[in-house]
């Protein structure tokens, strides 16, 4: 008997008209605030990718003759600096647009690392329980006890700042939120009939975790990942602000703020605009994440 059970085709009238993703998108789109968040995030991502076409200026090209020009002033060739120039005569808009790249790159990469780590830890802790659960949760407590920024800058100070170091430090130390949410969900899934049925049929633990538990914890995980992305972007700019982020001449929002802080009493635009860029990006992600949570799982507390 090697026949494989095939699902009976549903009669036409019971078939869902569209996939569940379509339903989900419709529901998300009905919330105006989360749609707005999604649009903001999309605009930021597209501008970051197409930075070269967005602005005629080079973000690192200096023009000392044109330094500290207020927003709207023109340079010798007649190009307008819509947001002014900084203390080295570099176009602020160009630097903001290019500065989105390291922010988003660190955001995505760090969230991917911590998300995978946290997912693994949470699945194992919740599904197996017992000793391994105790150990992992104590590790989580230890991780949470550290003032995050301080630990991050201490480690980056020792290893030296680079894109890889920053991504790894943020990624490795942000797994706890994911682990806690996934663990909680796995803990209750373990008792559900379909998991016990799989166990009774002799499925191995690894298979049960991947095929039965993981798909059911994916939704809360996704919500946590989205909201965590906002946090990581703020941390990346905080590190660059302290001079421990991606190093110059690469433009970063935090680095621009640090430069602008020096000129705060004479040239307000230096510090104001990069901060607005962070605020808008983070706000967009937060709004989208809130909408995602309310649409997918309103009871989720994150």
């Amino acid at each position: 008997m090697s026949t494989r059970a095939t699902a009976l085709p549903l009669p036409e009238e019971f078939r869902p008209v569209r996939g569940e993703w379509w339903v989900f998108l419709r529901r998300l789109a009905r919330r105006r605030t989360s749609l707005f968040g999604l649009v903001v995030v999309a605009v930021v991502v597209v501008t970051a990718l197409g930075a070269t076409w967005v602005t005629p200026f080079d973000p690192v090209e200096q023009d000392i003759g044109d330094r500290l020009k207020p927003p709207g002033s023109r340079d010798a060739t007649g190009h307008v600096h819509p947001l002014g120039t900084d203390h080295l005569g570099r176009d602020i808009l160009a630097r903001i647009v290019f500065g989105a790249r390291p922010a988003l790159l660190v955001g995505f990469a760090a969230v991917a690392i911590s998300g995978v780590l946290g997912m693994a830890a949470g699945l194992v802790a919740g599904y197996f329980g017992g000793r391994i659960d105790d150990v992992l949760m104590r590790l989580a407590d230890i991780q949470l006890a550290f003032p995050f920024i301080l630990l991050a800058i201490a480690v980056i100070g020792v290893l030296g700042p680079s894109l890889t170091t920053i991504i790894c430090v943020i990624g490795v130390s942000s797994w706890v939120v994911y682990a806690r949410i996934v663990r909680g969900a796995a803990l209750s899934l373990r008792e559900r009939e379909f998991v016990q049925a799989a166990q009774a049929l002799g499925s191995r633990d690894g298979r049960i975790l991947l095929r039965h538990v993981l798909p059911n914890v994916f939704t809360p995980w996704l919500v946590v990942a989205t909201l965590d992305m906002a946090r990581v972007i703020v941390i990346e700019s905080a590190l660059s602000f302290l001079g421990l982020g991606v190093q110059p001449p690469t433009p970063t929002w935090g680095g621009m703020l640090a430069d602008g802080r020096v000129y705060i009493s004479t040239a307000w635009w230096l510090a104001t605009f990069p901060g607005l860029a962070i605020l808008v990006t983070v706000l967009g992600i937060n709004l989208f994440g809130d909408g995602l949570r309310d649409t997918l799982d309103p009871r989720l507390k994150v």
Binding site: F146, L150, R261
Partner: protein, 305 residues
């Protein structure tokens, strides 16, 4: 109750031990603590002597045991820059950091709890929308930018408040607002959702049906139950505040542990960094222990289970 306390205490001890290991390990991240501590122009001879003097040639676990014994006695070695014991330098600056974090937390609680309650009770009114939008902005605003903007407005433009240093209360206003905004936003949202959940419970309807008027229902019946998650988050937020003080203190030149440690990192003064990270993390663990004990008072189900 006693078993709960013992278990919780033991857990805290394990966490403290873990913290001490991580703090010890920071220096060994590159594999060679001597190269981290010594300036790059040090000669091979210097490095050899330094290693022998600091005991870096001993086995790893011997070094950790020595570090742990020192840490328990408050001895993290001498600051490389100041030549004084690192522990003393950090402890000296603790009051400033506690003052700032305390002020920020107080501000957050005084603003957030009333705002959250009003938002929940007057749901979907103008006041609810305003407080929700403010909370959202507060959660999305990077601390360091907020600090700079406040300096621009209140110090540079209006010349009302000082932009740096510590002294009378006027010095505290801008740093406390800067540090406290994120926490305010979080507690506002949490209070609002907690109150909304509690207000729809059966016992609230019962109280209303019995004829209890609005204020006592909100303040006595609902708030006490909505307070449980708020108390937990206060413990966690304190960690955010202690960590956030690193940036806020740097912006406002506030003479606390955060600013000291950032300077120590720039100067490669790692004994000070280790002492600071260890003390701040231990404070966080202690506060959360207290919070958990308080929690059992608010929610006896935890103590009994």
């Amino acid at each position: 109750m006693r078993t709960f306390l013992t278990r919780r205490l033991l857990q805290s001890l394990v966490v403290l031990l873990g913290i001490s290991f991580v703090v010890f390990f920071i220096l060994h991240l590159t594999g060679d603590p001597a190269s981290v501590l010594l300036p790059p122009e040090a000669t091979a001879q210097d490095i050899r002597e330094f290693r022998a003097r600091m005991g870096f040639n001993d086995p790893f676990y011997v070094q950790y045991a020595r570090f742990l014994r020192g840490a328990l006695q408050g001895n993290f070695g001498d600051s490389i820059r100041h030549g004084e014991p690192a522990f003393g330098l950090v402890v000296e600056r603790m009051p400033a950091t506690f003052q700032l974090a305390g002020a920020a937390l107080l501000l957050a609680l005084c603003l957030a709890i009333p705002a959250g309650i009003v938002s929940a009770v007057r749901r979907n009114t103008l006041i609810d929308y305003v407080s929700t939008v403010v909370a959202l902005l507060g959660q999305s605003m990077p601390t360091f930018w907020l600090g700079i903007m406040l300096i621009l407005l209140f110090s540079v433009q209006l010349n009302l408040l000082p932009s740096s240093g510590r002294g009378e209360w006027r010095h505290l206003v801008l740093p406390a607002v800067t540090l406290g905004l994120f926490t305010t936003a979080r507690i506002t949202r949490l209070t609002r959702s907690g109150m909304l959940e509690v207000l729809s419970q059966d016992y609230i309807r019962t109280a209303r049906a019995k004829g209890v008027s609005d204020p006592p229902v909100v303040w006595k019946h609902a708030l006490k139950n909505a307070a449980i998650p708020i108390v937990t988050i206060v413990g966690i937020e304190l960690g955010t505040l202690l960590g956030g003080s690193v940036i806020t203190e740097t912006i406002f030149a506030w003479p606390g542990v955060g600013r000291l440690s950032v300077q120590a990192i720039y100067n490669r003064d790692y004994p000070v960094v280790q002492a600071a990270v260890f003390l701040l993390a231990s404070t966080f663990v202690l506060v959360n222990l207290v919070v958990d004990v308080l929690y059992t008072y608010l929610d006896p189900r935890i103590r009994l289970s």
